[in-house]
């Protein structure tokens, strides 16, 4: 988790030019573009499958209380550690709780937590990035050195330290992860903003006498947004993994809450009963992979360069 992936670098740095024009053109041909992209899904099985997986997870998470065969906390000590069977499709854990139900309910913790982490870090990161990129000067220097400090640390290590000092809980885990992941958004937003600052339409707004807040919010931000949005969609997957890691080491969700990371940790205590850790592990795997592929697809949707390539 130490640095941004090459994918993010591309989105953040090189394609910023394309972004501004891309958004302008996307507005014009919005219906056309969306229609073509969804039609193109047929030729992108990975994107199609990932979208299906995401939809299935969305349904499972929203309707978990209706779909789950059992409560996430219902114990049956007599039937503890029983292997997958027709009555317990995913088996039971060390306290005789149904693993399938816990995996379903676990999504109600991990996914919202990951979404909040990403939303928080996008909010903070974009604000900092817009301000530093547009205003420059000492503010830019100070805030960018702060992001440098953050990015010099292995993220998960920093998150562990923050989470441990705040005291372990879901809320504090989310705060810790948001705390360490906003700098990358700040970096990307800043670099896009720097580029946009000298563009004609921004200069025009300035000449027209618009206020700084209006220029930042109405003129620059809409052009930064697609870049950040693609980055964020991939990042949700990573936030799920990071949150699970925190829970795995006991710094996220508290027992007896069903949460994937802590379920994997429980399973590591009873390795001969593979089903206890495998199924929550698979839940993390499927969702993270789906978010990554969906992120790729979103980039194609919003990035005119790759769209042209597809069309050609």
């Amino acid at each position: 988790m130490s640095a941004r992936s090459p994918l993010d670098m591309t989105i953040g740095g090189d394609s910023s030019h394309a972004m501004s024009t891309g958004t302008l053109s996307a507005r014009r041909g919005y219906v056309h573009t969306v229609g073509r992209t969804f039609a193109g899904l047929r030729h992108q099985p990975s994107a199609l499958i990932s979208l299906i997986v995401l939809c299935v997870w969305a349904i499972v998470i929203v309707f978990a209380p209706l779909l789950a065969p059992d409560g996430p906390l219902t114990q049956s000590i007599a039937g503890r550690l029983s292997p997958p069977s027709s009555s317990h499709w995913f088996g039971t854990d060390a306290l005789g709780r149904d693993v399938l139900s816990r995996v379903m309910f676990g999504g109600r913790v991990s996914v919202p937590a990951a979404l909040v982490v990403v939303l928080l870090s996008v909010f903070v990161g974009c604000t900092v990035g817009l301000l530093t990129g547009y205003l420059g000067g000492w503010l830019d220097d100070v805030l960018m050195r702060i992001t440098d400090v953050f990015m010099a640390f292995p993220l998960i290590l920093l998150a562990m330290a923050i989470s441990a000092s705040l005291g372990p809980s879901i809320r504090n885990g989310v705060i810790a992860l948001a705390f360490v992941s906003w700098p990358q958004y700040a970096r990307v937003t800043r670099s896009v903003t720097l580029d946009l600052r000298s563009r004609e339409f921004v200069l025009a707004s300035q000449v027209a006498g618009q206020r700084r807040s209006t220029i930042l919010g109405r003129v620059i931000f809409p052009n930064v947004f697609p870049t950040v949005f693609v980055m964020a969609s991939v990042d949700v997957g990573r936030a799920i993994v990071n949150f699970s890691v925190l829970s795995f080491i006991g710094l996220g969700a508290r027992p007896p809450v069903a949460e994937w990371g802590s379920m994997v940790a429980d399973g590591a205590q009873v390795m001969s009963q593979w089903w206890v850790s495998t199924f929550p592990g698979f839940a993390i795997f499927s969702l993270v992979l789906a978010f990554n592929f969906a992120g790729d697809w979103l980039r194609d949707l919003l990035d005119p360069y790759s769209r042209t390539r597809d069309a050609a």
Binding site: R80, L95, I249, P256, A268, V270, S272
Partner: protein, 558 residues
């Protein structure tokens, strides 16, 4: 008193290690694709069968314990006890199948004066050190004084001793500051072995009052031994392995194994693999579930002994939480817990606790005298307390603490569920053991699930701490002496000043019955050690409550 069980401490703190191990195991499984290849044992030094008993080697797998030192007068880690007991003979000892009977070791006999304040031990003239020199009273006095003056973590054991003297070369006298008719049991602790004064002194050791700063023998004692036990220390490579060799000058029955190799591994899963593959003959730290999984294997035997690690739920008697401070609510909790479920969770590693003292010890209550779940009674008690809909409190435990391999997290998880069934909401608060203990010791926790491990196998290591003015009762549970518990306080205080065994036991029993009734404790589980071993390799495996295994009586399987 209580010990931080370092070998267990390791488990939860580094869960990431478990992940690495998972990966390692998968690799290992891939490499030995044809399953139980027991033949590769020879590569690790295990001699199969009893073909050459004179040079037989035994391999024991043990969790990578934070073994601090092997200095016989300083070491006080449970992981050290197995080695200390094999290297250094104590004055008296015991066998775990009869925890009421003291056995002679270096001392062949002992007497006590009428008021229980002076013990006289006669040494066995046969006893010699591994150097061949006899064990004298001066060596015993040196060892005890060095133990006291090094002020190690176990120093409290001899806190009640006012002097140790040697009126003659074969006689040692212990004078106590207060009467205690169960005192010799303390001397069974592996921390109180006798070392050879001459040798320890030659390597920088001393027993003066400033020994804790001037004594320099520890580094030599980490690589050599100076005792009269059945084994001598061959080598100790920290974090990797420890090798014991047979003491050829041993004055008792000589051990069958010429070498015992302890392989330190990172966790219980690795131990299980070593045992299954035949790379180790005995595994020390398997969880009850892992042991249960091995039972179907015809080649695996399980050595058992009372672990004397009593798991209890305790709550603060003077909690700021007003509901928790009501004694009717205590009754509700005691009857809300499904004790049978807890026993089945333990998978053979525990029976129900009859009281806060393990049932194998003097005067303790049998499992039948413990509580049994009675939801109606619990609800009636809640109503009587004025909390018919239940109440809430925080239940703390150490996420990395286990007792006989049983994790506290499981016990706490099951209890929370039971309490919820009658409307009592326990908010689980797992902590790392170090943090948990420091908070609990300073009385900051509302309620706990915790195991009280023995320092020596006697009731005096349990009862006095759980009743006022004991540390657990007063400091941790905020349960000081008062008019309502005066009878318990008196019984506990006088029991160990009572010379007559029967009378003493009945006083203890009476006190424990009252503690069950009035105390802020729900005794949960009385744990059992289970050490699985490979029957095709080793026989005569006997488990011990304090030092895990009697190493001298094991023999290669024929």
């Amino acid at each position: 008193m209580e010990m931080l069980r370092h070998r267990d401490f390791h488990r939860g703190t580094h869960r990431s290690l478990a992940v690495v191990t998972v990966a390692g195991l998968l690799l290992a499984a891939a490499c030995t694709s044809n399953g139980n290849t027991k033949s590769n044992a020879t590569s690790t030094g295990t001699t199969s069968g009893g073909a050459h008993p004179a040079s037989a080697t035994l391999v024991v797998a043990m969790e990578q314990a934070s073994l601090r030192t092997l200095d016989p007068n300083d070491a006080y880690e449970p992981a050290a006890f197995i080695f200390e007991n094999a290297l250094y003979s104590t004055l008296v000892t015991f066998k775990s199948d009869n925890l009421r009977q003291l056995e002679p070791r270096v001392a062949q006999s002992w007497t006590v004066n009428d008021d229980g304040t002076e013990y006289t031990f006669k040494l066995d003239p046969k006893a010699v050190f591994s150097t061949g020199d006899p064990v004298t009273a001066a060596d015993v006095v040196f060892s005890m004084q060095r133990f006291i003056n090094l002020k190690g973590p176990g120093a409290f054991l001899l806190g009640g001793v006012s002097s140790v003297t040697s009126p003659s070369p074969d006689t040692v006298v212990f004078k106590l500051s207060a009467p205690d008719f169960t005192f010799p049991w303390i001397l069974t602790s592996s921390a109180l072995g006798v070392s050879e004064a001459k040798v320890v002194k030659a390597h920088g050791g001393n027993d003066s009052t400033d020994a804790s700063t001037t004594d320099k023998a520890a580094s030599w004692l980490d690589g050599h031994s100076a005792g009269s036990g059945p084994f001598v220390l061959d080598s100790w490579t920290r974090g990797q392995q420890l090798v014991l060799s047979r003491n050829d000058n041993y004055w008792g029955a000589k051990p069958a194994y010429s070498k015992i190799i302890f392989k330190f591994v990172s966790d219980a899963n690795t131990e299980q693999q070593l045992l299954k593959r035949g790379d180790a003959a005995i595994a020390i730290d398997l969880t009850p579930d892992q042991v249960a999984g091995l039972r179907s294997d015809q080649n695996i035997g399980v050595a058992k002994a009372p672990a004397l690690n009593q798991i209890y739920m305790g709550w603060s008697a003077a909690a700021t939480n007003t509901a928790l401070a009501k004694t009717d609510n205590w009754t509700a909790m005691k009857y809300a817990i499904n004790y049978k479920n807890l026993v089945s969770l333990a998978q053979g590693a525990a029976v129900q606790a009859g009281s806060v003292v393990p049932s194998a010890l003097e005067g303790a209550l049998p499992p039948e005298d413990g509580f049994s779940q009675d939801v109606a009674k619990a609800k009636a008690a809640l109503a009587a307390a004025g909390n018919p809909d239940g109440f809430s409190f925080t239940l703390s435990y150490a996420s990395d603490e286990t007792a006989a391999g049983l994790p506290m997290s499981l016990v706490a998880g099951a209890i929370q569920n039971d309490l919820a069934a009658v409307g009592i909401k326990a908010k689980l608060d797992p902590e790392l053991e170090v943090n948990f203990l420091s908070a609990y010791r300073t009385g900051k926790l509302e309620a706990v699930v915790h195991g009280w491990a023995n320092d020596y196998p006697a009731t005096s290591d349990f009862l006095p701490v759980f009743v006022p003015p004991g540390t657990v009762a007063v400091k941790r549970q905020h349960w000081p002496a008062s008019a309502s518990n005066q009878q318990i306080v008196d019984l506990a205080a006088n029991a160990f000043k009572t010379k007559d065994d029967t009378q003493r036991a009945s006083m203890i029993t009476q006190a424990l019955k009252l503690v069950n009734q009035l105390g802020p404790y729900a005794p949960l589980l009385d744990t059992e050690y289970q050490f699985p071993y490979d029957k095709s390799k080793v026989a005569g495996v006997t488990a011990n409550s304090l030092w895990f295994l009697d190493l001298d009586t094991m023999t290669p399987a024929s």
